[in-house]
Symmetry: C2
Amino acid sequence: MHAAPLDPLHATATELRVLVGRLRRRLREEARTGDLSLSQFAVLGHLGRDGPATVSDLARAEGMRPQSMSAVVASLQATGLVHGTPDPGDGRRTLLALTEAARVRVRASRAAREDWLLQVLRERFSREEQALLAHGLELLQRIADA
Amino acid sequence: MHAAPLDPLHATATELRVLVGRLRRRLREEARTGDLSLSQFAVLGHLGRDGPATVSDLARAEGMRPQSMSAVVASLQATGLVHGTPDPGDGRRTLLALTEAARVRVRASRAAREDWLLQVLRERFSREEQALLAHGLELLQRIADA
DNA sequence: CTGATCTCAGGGCAACTGAGATAT
DNA sequence: CATATCTCAGTTCCCCTGAGATCA
């Protein structure tokens, strides 16, 4: 009755927009994982996976301004999860890396299986769905990079 | 070298968290669609698809507090895209609906093909990928609802 | 001097909490 | 009275812009 003839692609676009907002709220609500924001979480993941990086590197990788990333990094330094050392070869740069405390924490939270999202993926998705989801995320990456 | 033995499910969880943040920034950056926020967009979509609803209905549907939704609705009323009429049967409730201006605008923006996200989906994804993506979004819905 | 990196200051906005007001 | 809906006020968080300072 409220009409939405709507080609399927348009429906997909609308659904995606709504979904991003809802997932953001849901993930924040179910924080845990040490009460990290999405941005903080992303930085720890990046440093853990790809090794030390500068604020600018991280900002580029996450698609945000260096000033914004700087604040995220500062909060992680304040809680002792990240530490920075001046680049010996280039005085402008500060190389950021995970502290031992961060590595310990990541391992502990994995062992404790305390991550809400991980639980959901494990319990509510079949093997095939998990694989499908992983593939879907790759496609979404492409949108974020577009 | 920076070690992440990492079962694939954990990788998926991390990737999803990062992705939500990146998509949010990307979508905001590429606003257009009439400069609506994700929440505003979601409300217009809901009202257009499911018909009139109250603030509380909308809040439940989007997973946010009524007070927050109230602000979103107020902004849409201020720009004349939504109007509210008191529920004749229950004086506490206000039924919200799209204005004719909103319907016109949605149709116009569809016709103009001016939506950034729609362009990306159309131009950078094959038919199969589009279908795969749509299916992936359903799985993500399940997470948001969990 | 130009350009890259980083910091400081200030602002906007989306969401939250808490405290009512009003109607059932 | 108890409950549901909605509003008002204040706060927090994330990210932005703009203006330097420092170093290559």
